[in-house]
C-alpha cells in the first residue's frame, strides 16, 4: 500500500486565478471589502440628542465590510487551508490533540450556560455554579487534592496562579526574604521558568540523569532553606514517568519548599494515578489538552489549578461556597488568605461546560480507558519505530508520548525540520519538533487515544518509508518539502527582520 508514490504532479501548469482546484487564493479582507458594505442590517436610530460630551470619533476607522455571502466565502476558503484534528492525526507531543466531541459544543451553547452574565444576581445562576461545583468534584477526585482554583484562563496562567499561591504561603511563614529560588529541569516547557521569573524568583536548573528522569540525589543536592519550590512535569516532557517523584516531593517539602507539577501530560494518568498521591502541592490541568476542549487555532484554553491542603487557603478569588441548598461565589478576598485575583469574573465557563460534558460521557471508567489507550498507542508507535529512529535515553517504556532525536539522521543532510516538512506532504501534521531542548533535534510523538489502529499503522508506515528515503540519501525530497500545501516553506527570517504585522493602505 505504501510502496510507490501514488501521483506525481510534475505536469501541473499554472492557473489564471492561482487557485488549484479546491484550494483558493484568498486575498485579504482589506483588499476585497468596502467601507460602505455591511453584512448586518441595522436600522438607523431615530434622531436623538447625543450625550458624549464632545468625544465623538471624527476620523474614519478604515474598516472594510463584506456582505453575508462574501463573508461566508472568505472564511470558508481560509478554513480549507488549515489542518485540523477532524481532518487528520496530530501527533503533537505535549499538546494532546485528542478528538473534540461535538456534544461539548452543543452543551456549551445551551442558553442557560452561554447566555448568562457573570454579574447577574447569583440566585439566577445556581445551575452554572452547580456545574462549576461538579467540575471541582471531578478534578479533586481525579487528583486527590484539596481545593481547586478554577479561574486561570490557560495552562501558563495556571502556573502563575500556583506560583502566586506558593509565594503567598511562603510570605505567610515570614520566609519571603530567604526562599527565592525555584528549581526547574532543563526539559521543562518554557512557561515554567518564565512564570517563575515573572514573580521574581531565581530559576536554577535541575539536571536530569542519562535515563531522562530527575534523580532524587540531584534534587537533594539543590534543596535548602533558599528553595521556594520545584517545578516538575510528570510524566515529563520526554514522555517518561518521573519515577523518583514521590522521593523528590518529600525532599522538597521536608526542606520547607513546595512542589509545583505542570499537568500538561495528565492525559497519561488521568483516572489511573493521582498526583496528590505523589506529594504535589499545586498542579494546573489543561482542559484543552486532557479534557478535550477544542484548540481553536491557538485558544481559548483553561488551566484550573488543584491545590494541596497547605496551599488551599491561598487560592485566589472567587471562591465557590455551598451553604445548604445555596451556592455562592465569594468574589472578594476579605477575611480569607486568598492572594488576590488573577482575572476578571469567574473563569472560562464555556470550557468548564465542555470539560464536564467530556467527563460525564467518559465516567471514571472511560477516563481510565482513555489514559490506557493513550499510553498503549504511544508505546505501540515506539516499538514500531525503535529499530529505525534513535532516542536520547535509549529505548525504554514511555507514557503517552515517545521521544526520538535526530542522531539516526546524521550524515543524511536531512534535519528534523526537513523530516517534519516531508510528513506534511504525506498528509500528517508533524510531531512536536525541537522540544524538549534536552534532545538534539527532538521529535516528540503523542498519538492520543483518539486514533484507530489503522490510523496508527498508516502513520507508522509513513514514517518508516520517509525514514528509509532519508537514509537512502534522498535529501532533495525533504529539502523541497512541503510541495502540496497552499504555501510552501515560508521565509521566517524576513518576517522577523522586517516585521509587517498588519495591512496598511498603500501597501503593495
Amino acid at each position: 500500500m505504501l510502496d510507490q508514490p501514488k501521483r506525481d504532479l510534475a505536469d501541473a501548469p499554472a492557473t489564471f486565478t492561482g487557485n488549484r482546484g479546491l484550494d483558493a487564493e484568498e486575498l485579504l479582507l482589506f483588499e476585497i471589502g468596502r467601507a460602505e458594505t455591511s453584512g448586518v442590517d441595522i436600522d438607523e436610530p431615530s434622531p436623538f440628542e447625543s450625550c458624549l460630551d464632545g468625544l465623538e470619533r471624527k476620523q474614519p476607522i478604515g474598516l472594510p465590510g463584506l456582505s453575508e455571502p462574501e463573508t461566508l466565502r472568505h472564511y470558508v476558503r481560509l478554513s480549507r487551508k488549515n489542518y485540523s484534528i477532524d481532518g487528520g492525526l496530530y501527533p503533537l507531543g505535549s499538546c494532546t490533540m485528542k478528538h473534540n466531541p461535538r456534544l461539548n459544543e452543543k452543551m456549551a451553547r445551551l442558553e442557560g450556560f452561554a447566555d448568562i452574565h457573570p454579574l447577574q444576581p447569583q440566585s439566577t445562576v445556581q445551575g452554572a455554579l452547580e456545574a462549576m461545583e461538579q467540575l471541582t468534584h471531578w478534578l479533586l477526585t481525579l487528583t486527590n487534592m484539596e481545593a481547586v482554583a478554577l479561574s486561570p484562563k490557560a495552562g501558563a496562567h495556571g502556573e502563575i496562579c500556583g506560583l502566586m499561591a506558593i509565594k503567598s504561603a511562603i510570605a505567610a511563614r515570614g520566609e519571603s526574604e530567604t526562599r527565592k529560588t525555584v528549581l526547574v529541569p532543563q526539559s521543562a516547557h518554557g512557561t515554567n521558568p518564565a512564570s517563575a521569573a515573572l514573580l521574581g524568583f531565581e530559576v536554577r536548573a535541575v539536571p536530569a540523569g542519562p535515563d531522562g528522569v530527575v534523580h532524587a540525589e540531584a534534587v537533594e543536592a539543590l534543596v535548602g532553606p533558599d528553595v521556594a519550590a520545584i517545578m516538575l512535569t510528570n510524566p515529563n516532557t520526554c514522555g517518561l514517568f518521573e519515577r523518583d517523584v514521590a522521593k523528590i516531593a518529600k525532599l522538597v517539602r521536608d526542606a520547607g519548599g513546595y512542589f509545583y507539577c505542570d499537568g500538561a501530560n495528565f492525559n497519561a494518568i488521568a483516572g489511573v494515578a493521582r498526583p496528590g498521591d505523589f506529594g504535589v502541592d499545586a498542579m494546573h490541568i489543561n482542559l484543552h489538552k486532557t479534557f478535550s476542549t477544542p484548540h481553536g487555532g491557538g485558544g481559548p484554553g483553561a488551566g484550573p489549578v488543584v491545590l494541596s491542603a497547605r496551599l488551599a487557603p491561598f487560592a485566589p478569588a472567587p471562591l465557590l461556597i455551598r451553604t445548604g441548598e445555596v451556592l455562592r461565589l465569594k468574589e472578594d478576598a476579605e477575611g480569607t488568605q486568598a492572594f488576590g485575583r488573577i482575572t476578571a469574573f469567574h473563569g472560562q465557563m464555556g470550557m468548564f461546560v465542555r470539560a464536564l460534558a467530556y467527563m460525564l460521557a467518559h465516567g471514571g471508567d472511560g477516563l481510565a480507558q482513555a489514559s490506557r489507550d493513550a499510553v498503549l498507542s504511544a508505546n505501540y508507535v515506539r516499538v514500531s519505530l525503535r529499530d529505525l529512529m534513535s532516542s536520547p535515553f535509549g529505548d525504554r517504556k514511555c507514557m503517552h508520548e515517545v521521544l526520538f532525536d535526530d542522531a539516526w539522521l546524521a550524515g543524511t543532510g536531512v534535519s528534523t525540520l526537513d523530516f517534519a516538512k516531508a510528513m506534511i506532504d504525506e498528509g500528517f501534521h508533524p510531531m512536536t519538533i525541537y522540544f524538549p531542548l534536552v534532545a538534539h533535534g527532538a521529535m516528540l510523538i503523542e498519538p492520543t487515544e483518539s486514533e484507530s489502529k489503522a490510523s496508527l499503522d498508516q502513520f507508522i508506515g509513513t514514517l518508516r518509508r520517509l525514514g528509509e528515503r532519508a537514509l537512502e540519501g534522498d535529501a532533495a525530497l525533504f529539502h523541497g518539502a512541503p510541495r502540496y500545501t497552499p504555501r510552501r516553506r515560508l521565509d521566517e527570517t524576513q518576517a522577523a527582520r522586517k516585521p509587517v504585522l498588519r495591512w496598511s493602505k498603500g501597501a503593495a
Binding site: 525541537y434 521566517e492 527570517t493 522577523a496 527582520r497
Partner: protein, 124 residues
C-alpha cells in the same frame, strides 16, 4: 597595530591600545543561522569579563554574547539595528557589536590567538 583574541565560545576582541572591538566569529554566525535582531548594551555600561554583553536573536533562538574582557562600553554598532544580517555577512568587520575601553590588559593572556582558535574550531 591591532591584534585579535578569541574565546572558546566564539567571541572575539580586536585590541588596539586600550580599545577593544567585540563581536562573534564566523563559526558563531553560521551556528546561529539568520540573525534577525541584536540587543546592544547602552553606551557607558561597565561590564566584567564573562558577563552578558548583548543578545543575538535568530528566528528560533536567542543567545547571549558574553564579554571576553572587562571594560566600559564606549560605542555600539547601531547599524546592526537596521541590518542585523551584517553579523552573518561580515562578522569580523562590519558585523562588530561593541567597542570597549579595556579595564585590564592582563585578561588578554587568558584568551586564544588566531591560530589557537582555528585549532579549537577544527576540533569541534
Amino acid at each position: 597595530m591591532s591584534t585579535t583574541h578569541f574565546t572558546t565560545d566564539h567571541e572575539y576582541v580586536r585590541v588596539d591600545g586600550d580599545s577593544g572591538v567585540v563581536g562573534v566569529t564566523d563559526y558563531a554566525q553560521a551556528q546561529l543561522g539568520d540573525i534577525v535582531f541584536i540587543e546592544l548594551p547602552p553606551v557607558g555600561k561597565k561590564i566584567r569579563k564573562g558577563e552578558p554583553l548583548a543578545t543575538v536573536e535568530s528566528v528560533k533562538a536567542a543567545s547571549e554574547l558574553f564579554s571576553p574582557v572587562s571594560g566600559e562600553v564606549v560605542e555600539v554598532n547601531s547599524a546592526l539595528e537596521k541590518t542585523p544580517a551584517q553579523v552573518n555577512e561580515d562578522p569580523l568587520g562590519g558585523g562588530w557589536f561593541v567597542k570597549l575601553r579595556l579595564a585590564d590588559a592582563g585578561e588578554l593572556t587568558g584568551l586564544l590567538d588566531e591560530a589557537a582558535y582555528e585549532t579549537h574550531v577544527q576540533s569541534l
